[in-house]
């Protein structure tokens, strides 16, 4: 994805991770932001956590690796991993091409949906990047 983009319907974590929360707050899809993938360069490897892994908000749960760097992926919200994006093992570059769509990393069943209050909206996150 060539142009910086931060969809307004997502919530953002200062460590450059995003969350898309289902309407009923039961589940969320997580990934890394445009900024993160741009800083890394072309992603060459991503190993998802196992199904059932418990994620804790603000704690790293996986790593994303490019030729020049490796970066922690931080959980914006706490929950249990219920789905992982296996397509990324064949095509990790999808994370660069479509970080918010096909490049999603994991889906979690949320354990504390109220944590969303601590996350940033798109404009606050963009402000953080600019500052």
């Amino acid at each position: 994805m060539a142009e910086a983009s931060y969809p307004p319907d997502l919530l953002y974590h200062p460590e450059h991770d995003w969350a898309r929360i289902e309407d009923d707050d039961s589940q969320a899809t997580l990934g890394i932001t445009w900024y993160a993938q741009d800083a890394l360069g072309e992603v060459v490897f991503f190993e998802p956590p196992a199904l059932g892994t418990i994620l804790a908000k603000d704690a790293p749960y996986a790593e994303v690796e490019s030729v020049k760097a490796v970066s922690d992926v931080v959980a914006p919200l706490s929950g249990e991993v219920v789905e992982v994006n296996h397509a990324l093992s064949e095509s990790p570059g999808t994370i660069n091409e479509d970080p918010y769509g096909e490049g999603w990393l994991v889906k979690v069943r949320l354990s504390a949906p109220a944590e969303r209050e601590a996350l940033l909206d798109a404009s606050s996150y963009k402000a953080l990047l600019a500052g």
Partner: protein, 507 residues
Amino acid sequence: MSPLEQTPLQRERARTIFQKGAPGRRAFVCPELDVPAVDASELLPERFRRRQPPRLPEVSEPEIVRHYVGISKRNFDLDSGFYPLGSCTMKHNPRLHERVAALPGNARLHPLQDAERAQGALELMWNLQGALAEIAGLPHVSLQPSAGSHGELAGVLLTRAYHEDRGGGGRVPNKVLTPDTAHGTNPATVTMAGYEVVKLATDADGGVDLEDLRAKADTDVACLMLTNPNTLGLFDPNIVEIAEIVHGVGATLYYDGANLNAVMGVSRPGDMGFDIVHFNLHKSFTQPHGGGGPGSGPIAVSDRVAPFLPVPLVAQREDGGYELDYGRGRAGSKSIGRLRGFHGNYGCFVRAYAYIRSLGGDGLTDVSEAAVLNANYLLARLRQQGVAEYLPLAYGQLCMHEFVLSGGPMRQRLQIKTLDLAKRLLDFGFHPPTVYFPLLVEEALMVEPTETETRETLDAFAEAIAAILKEAAADPEIARGAPYTTPVRRLDEVAAAKRPIIREALA
């Protein structure tokens, strides 16, 4: 590129030794079986035997020679050209060193030979220890670590032992400070030794930010790891105060010897206040780099750290002879123990010792003075060539033995990155400087010419940089597509990382 445009080396396809040869060819002729033949299963039970032999090549000696000589021609090397890699100290490797290292008394000496029959080797090690102690300004030396990073690990483990000994079973500090300009090995080493890394900011002049140091130096800090001059090529003017702050909280001060080439005979780390110094014999002391190794990373330490040194140490006996002292490894000793087998990379000691004997004290001082002169000259020549507006010096005015330029302005105005500049330099017959390090500097280019380069070479290099910038101003695509004349052109590193192929597949 069309076939007609390729260089001969580019036209050659890379084939490994595994793709050469034919069944039945051989080089090795096995000595005859001169002992009574014994039934195979009596020698070794069938179930312990290998089922299929390893699929090594089947090649003759002429094929082996032609193959490896052939691939050697696809390598640039220091004997062939200028290699201004910052922090690597690519100085000339005197060939005498290979001759003395190959003497049978050195090369064919078994490490477990009895001390009485290895006195020459032990005396050489003892003398080398003494010379390194004098250069470092710290009296106690271990030659054991195998490389710079190994010496660093030793330093951090020594620090741990020191604190545990003082702490008497109570709480010990758990953090190590390192500047954000530090070499990558430092943080990795620290983690392996069980410490947490805390980064220190760099101030506007390129030195350690004293405010940040004061804020972070507390009794939780075990050690501060520094190199001086630092990776920006700058001598920290506040080094005395830094040492005071660090010692004030009871921590050790560790010196990464990667940049020792700037200060031999000029300033000694021990006098700057460091407790532990590691040397890279493959940098300042001419052990050839060998394409990545071997190296050797001896350490010198202060009195307070000495009890913890690894074993064995070289010791002098009462009768004036020498021995390896293992006594420290016995019960009651405070030594951290061993870091490797035997006693270190003796082959590297021979070369370093020959170098030190060749130069003497005055010679080593000349080395540092010439290294600093050459770096400042090259920096000034680049300025003269009009390079500074695109590649400004990142910090300061003068430098020590190396300097760091920032390619930020070049990238903005000429649309080429430091990477492109480096690749285009390959076409000009130079090895590029270190790129993208330290991370603190945008589009960094770290240049260390060393003292063994002539003025003519430095001039030629400055002219090449200027020429590339001029070329880029006219057409940035040229540098972006470089190199053109090397045995292979730009390689796909992403593909290599995505789907690693790290061995030849065999039928």
